[in-house]
Symmetry: C2
DNA sequence: TATTAGCACTCGAAATAAATGAGTGCTAAC
DNA sequence: GTTAGCACTCATTTATTTCGAGTGCTAATA
């Protein structure tokens, strides 16, 4: 059955109201509030049909209506009016983002914390880099048994490691290795560091002590660590703000799932296109623990291979529009800031594209 | 009034039972369980006196007795029988500690997580180093506008920073500065890096570009960061396991206090002597938010200036003995492991000294 | 044909009442 | 000093009632 314009209006009104109050909404309230010129009886008829169509449900016979996941999906896809952030909000967000990003470089966790603060929901942040390579090796000779490996990555971050050896090395060997690594191990990825390469380098350097493999191992470790997606979940306790989590057991279950680093997005799911906001509603989630919660994530892409996500988790009754705007804004800010560009321009957050899993898995 | 031997036994029995069940304990249950050869009537008389003395209280007239903070204090100081960990537990703890410590170097947060897992309470870990100094500087020339500062601290950790300059430097200057910093900035603490020292170095190096201050600033930053106590709180959500936190608001209040990095120990309180376990019961805590919770912390001291704490937070009804043993064991493990000694020996955890704030602040 | 007023009906939530029983304090006997 | 006995208290549990928001349906209306 096609859904009429009026039904859409009513559905939207129900969702809006329910998001606000967390209480089933009845025909009378709708007739009064939402400015659709018809009586509660008419609305009752429409509501009954919306229930038939699967967009709404009744907790019990004599209660108002509550949106089903399908109802939310419809709302998110078609009905919800995309919020624009006010100028003040924009300023505020910008300021706080700037501050976080300038402070230190544990950015992912900080960004997650920020998102959680701003939305008052548990938040997640995820970041990964593709195609990480090393740009430069320096090996510092400290003493006969000690040296420091310093590598500079293609995005100009620097990593180091102190190596203690049971055997003595001379400074010349260290210098030689440094040169060789700069020649053969720069500009290549994790997977290109093969045993063959290591062996040939070892032979060429005339290294009988296994230094080559120590350095190569470190290089691989750094590349792997850097490329591995890092994820942070923060603010789990904010779940307790939500009436649907007043049951401590229910709250605890989800909170420990979130804390335990369980998958929030389908494993292997790609990070999405930049500036895209995705919404997963209730049963659309793959993780059993999230089946009656919703997830909203925004993707960012810094351009230099660093991509990531920021998102929040909450009950299906979330203010999708407001949260999507904020997350989208943050994600765009990140794209710009991490990409090394200048500070974000206000108003740029309007390119809000909402996309979601539309398959009906109820 | 002096507390008789029998009263002590009864008090201990009440606390033990209450810790177990979280329910007020009555005279009858005590007469049956605790093997003190007297009837419930006698015990009732004793209980009434224990209430008078302030060690117990009644939620209401016709309920059993519950320990007051003073009662817990007495229990912790005198009555509780110090648990020894079983051999299996020791093994288990050792194994898990080893694993954590070997894995990576984000130790404090990991140790906190471990403590939380083992006790099933929110846990905190705090660590600080005194007298940090730099052992060695290396400055790597990358290109005319870029160099990397690498410093090695007295505990052999290495820190680095990439510096981009708007002006050009030549390799000679960098070399010169490297030498000078190794001569004048090693072996000194944060506070010894004075403007005077920086100025004189700058002049001596004939550095008109301000490189000296950049490097000195980094040195100071590293020293300050390293010396500043780092604190971690993890597993806040485990509070929800406790019946006294079934009220979501109460739980939320404490959880967000913990997450927000609020003081758990009195600010400025020293880290305590190694192998000492401190217990703060209810109102003994300074933070308003902790007034009806208890904190148990164990101190460790790695010997090289690294000191710290691990502890847990929970309701006043906690299994003080069991938790103190576990924390003490972990702390001793840390003292040994961080101090660079060999792996901990089993059985060494018996030196369990419990000390606490004994002032009666009820 | 679509809308609406009217009304009986449903059913959860809130309020009220009654029953239960664990645990007490006190008294009197041992 | 200890204990059996007993009346009493009071939170908790269970049962009962009341209340009202909201419904579905019918019949009148535009």
């Amino acid at each position: 059955m096609e859904i009429s314009e009026r039904k859409k209006k009513i559905l939207a009104a129900v969702v809006d109201e329910y998001i606000l109050t967390a209480e089933p909404v009845g025909s009378k309230a709708l007739a009064e509030k939402a400015g659709l010129g018809c009586s509660s009886a008419t609305i009752r008829n429409e509501l009954a049909e919306l229930v038939n169509m699967g967009y709404l449900e009744q907790p019990h016979t004599s209660a108002g209506r509550v949106p089903t996941p399908l109802g939310y999906r419809m709302y998110v896809n078609e009905l919800m009016q995309k919020q624009k952030l006010s100028l003040e909000e924009t300023e505020e967000l910008n300021l706080r983002l700037e501050k976080k990003l300038n402070e230190l470089d544990n950015t992912i966790s900080d960004v997650s914390r920020l998102a959680s603060q701003l939305t008052n929901y548990p938040a997640l942040a995820l970041s990964s880099r593709s195609q990480v390579t090393i740009k430069r090796f320096d090996i510092i000779y400290v003493d006969a048994n000690t040296f420091i490996i310093v590598v500079m990555l293609d995005n100009n971050t620097v990593r180091n490691k102190l190596v203690h050896l049971p055997v003595s090395v001379d400074e010349g060997m260290v210098k030689k290795l440094s040169t060789m690594f700069n020649a053969s191990f720069t500009g290549i990825t994790d997977s290109q560091i093969t045993p063959v390469l290591i062996n040939s380098t070892e032979r060429a350097a005339d290294d009988s002590l296994g230094l080559t493999s120590v350095i190569a191992a470190f290089a691989m470790e750094v590349l792997a660590t850097e490329a591995a997606p890092a994820a942070f979940v923060t603010g789990e306790n904010r779940l307790l703000n939500q009436p649907e989590f007043r049951d401590p057991d229910k709250a605890h279950r989800l909170m420990s799932y979130l804390s335990s680093g369980g998958y929030i997005l389908p494993p292997g799911e790609d990070l999405g296109d930049a500036n895209e906001v995705r919404v997963l509603i209730g049963p659309e989630n793959v993780a059993e623990e999230l089946k009656d919660s919703s997830v909203i994530v925004a993707s960012y892409d810094a351009g230099d291979g660093t991509k990531g996500l920021i998102g929040v988790v909450g009950p299906t009754r979330m203010d999708y529009s407001a949260i999507a705007s904020k997350l989208s804004f943050l994600a765009q800010g990140l794209s710009r800031r991490l990409g090394g560009g200048e500070a974000p321009v206000e108003g740029m957050h309007n390119k809000l594209i909402i996309k979601g899993d539309d398959s009906d898995k109820r």
